[in-house]
């Protein structure tokens, strides 16, 4: 007999998978734009460690001389990126999903423990809940970053009409730099996210598609719903609701 648990609401799955290609298009078209003035480097003192990006990198990805094309995609898909993000945030607020996503008092301590555990430095398994502390921090940070991309983006796109955004970002050039750094942040997030998903395995991955997670009783791994039960003081509905048991 298997236990089938509801994990991700339909809306969240939509927002997740719609965001994936749109953010991809935003990053790709952003690269076409950035190429036209690609001056950023990573340096320590006078030593340049890395240049964003090398001619070979651009050539391999066929980036050069596509500024106009990049802008046309960027300034169309920005609406979808913004709209989808806005709907996601609105949904998490009104559905109560934010309770599992926002970091709380314990999250920063536990987040550190998750890191130590994941890096195999510590054996202690911190509380998992629907999202563990590190996930709460990461999934909230990515929303803050998205907000940052909108503000810095407006600051570069309309520096007169939205002059206050430009001011807030410390000027036009600084806004462009932050906009770029946030994008690098998404790429790093993506890499860590994919590695974590692969390590966690198929059962977890398919749940962001199907919305349900299936547990066999013999599976010894820690089960998320157990964590919920240890917190009876929480009055919110459990994020993972058991369905009637299904036959295997």
């Amino acid at each position: 007999m298997k236990t089938v648990l509801k994990k991700h609401p339909l809306a969240i799955r939509w927002f997740h998978w719609i965001n994936f290609p749109i953010l991809g298009i935003m990053i790709w078209s952003g690269l076409l734009i950035y190429w036209a003035y690609s001056k950023y480097t990573l340096s320590v003192g006078n030593r340049q460690l890395f240049h964003f990006f090398s001619p070979g990198f651009y050539k391999a990805l066929k980036v050069p001389h596509r500024l106009a094309e990049g802008m046309s995609f960027h300034f169309a898909f920005m609406w979808l990126f913004f709209g989808n993000g806005l709907l996601y945030v609105t949904y998490t607020i009104f559905s109560g999903e934010w309770r599992y996503l926002l970091p709380n008092r314990k999250s920063f301590k536990e987040g550190w423990q998750v890191l130590l555990h994941d890096l195999h430095i510590h054996k202690y398994v911190p509380p998992q809940d629907k999202y563990n502390a590190a996930q709460r921090i990461a999934y909230t940070a990515i929303i803050v970053m998205g907000f940052g991309s909108i503000i810095t983006g407006l600051a570069i796109y309309k520096p007169v009409e939205f002059g206050w955004c430009t001011w807030l970002c410390g000027g036009y050039e600084s806004a462009r730099l932050i906009h770029f750094m946030l994008t690098i942040g998404y790429c790093l997030f993506f890499v860590v996210h994919i590695v974590q998903v692969i390590i966690t395995g198929w059962n977890n991955f398919q749940s962001i598609v199907t919305g349900i997670e299936i547990f066999k009783p013999i599976t010894p791994e820690p089960q998320p719903q157990m964590q919920i039960e240890t917190q009876p003081e929480e009055v919110q509905p459990s994020p993972i609701e058991p369905l009637p048991n299904e036959e295997a």
């Binding site: 339909l10 799955r13 939509w14 998978w17 719609i18 290609p21 734009i33 950035y34 036209a36 003035y37 001056k39 500024l67 106009a68 094309e69 802008m71 046309s72 995609f73 300034f75 169309a76 609406w79 796109y157 309309k158 520096p159 007169v160 009409e161 002059g163 430009t166 036009y172 050039e173 462009r176 598609v209 199907t210």
Partner: protein, 229 residues
């Protein structure tokens, strides 16, 4: 199931978009979006749009020269005239000295190139509003666009009338308190701080007004026609 629908929907939407015809070097729906963006962002905040200004000390001495399309190094300012087309066979011809008789306006702002770089630069010339008033051209302010061309017609821009008449727009003949260098568009160029550099036409030959979009060099190459902040 829904996931499959989403996957297929996304795939076909992307295919549809990329199968659309081109409109001046970019996909038509994207061109339409750029035009819609212009409506969203154009002048929603008050009547006047003004770029942030700086002090003389902030202005750079080495001003970048990025494009020389349409520039001629053989221009003779004594023979050069700004030609304002008022109608068929009715062209107003204005010399540089005549323009210099009008009040001079300085503007120091962060000049922004569509490539991504920017420079605080110092320019001076005749305010476009003063110019239009002095030469009794206000009747043309009701039209939708102004067009500018170099004398050899190799570079040309179209600008929406609202941006054209913003208080910081100048017909510029000085840079850093000296006559405009040849490569900066001697004897007269446009400085329009609410637009990307591509619209700041160097070496103005002709000016005209129109209700349809005047030809625009970079818009034909796939860039946004509005290209404004």
């Amino acid at each position: 199931m829904i996931f499959v629908v989403l996957l297929a929907g996304g795939f076909f939407a992307w295919k549809w978009l990329n199968d659309q015809p081109q409109d001046h070097m970019i996909l038509k729906p994207l061109r339409k979006t750029l035009e819609a963006n212009e409506k969203v962002f154009k002048g929603t905040l008050g009547k006047n749009k003004e770029s942030k200004t700086y002090t003389v000390a902030d202005a750079v001495k080495n001003v970048k020269v990025n494009g020389l399309i349409g520039i001629q190094d053989t221009i003779d300012a004594s023979k050069w005239r700004l030609q304002v087309i008022r109608g068929a066979g009715d062209t107003l011809k204005i010399s540089l000295d005549e323009l210099k008789q009008l009040p001079k306006k300085d503007i120091i702002f962060d000049f922004k190139c569509i490539e991504g770089w920017s420079q605080v630069t110092h320019w001076a010339g005749v305010s476009m509003r003063d110019f239009m008033e002095h030469y009794h051209l206000q009747g043309f302010e009701q039209m939708q666009y102004a067009g500018l061309q170099t004398p050899n017609k190799k570079y040309y821009v179209g600008i929406d009338m609202k941006s054209f008449l913003e208080p910081q727009t100048i017909l510029c003949y000085e840079m850093n308190d000296a006559p405009l260098p040849m490569k900066q568009g001697y004897p007269l160029r446009l400085i329009i701080p609410v637009k990307y550099g591509i619209k700041h036409l160097k070496c103005i030959g002709t000016m005209f007004f129109s209700n349809s979009k005047p030809p625009d060099y970079w818009a034909e190459q796939g860039y946004d026609y509005y290209a404004g902040f």
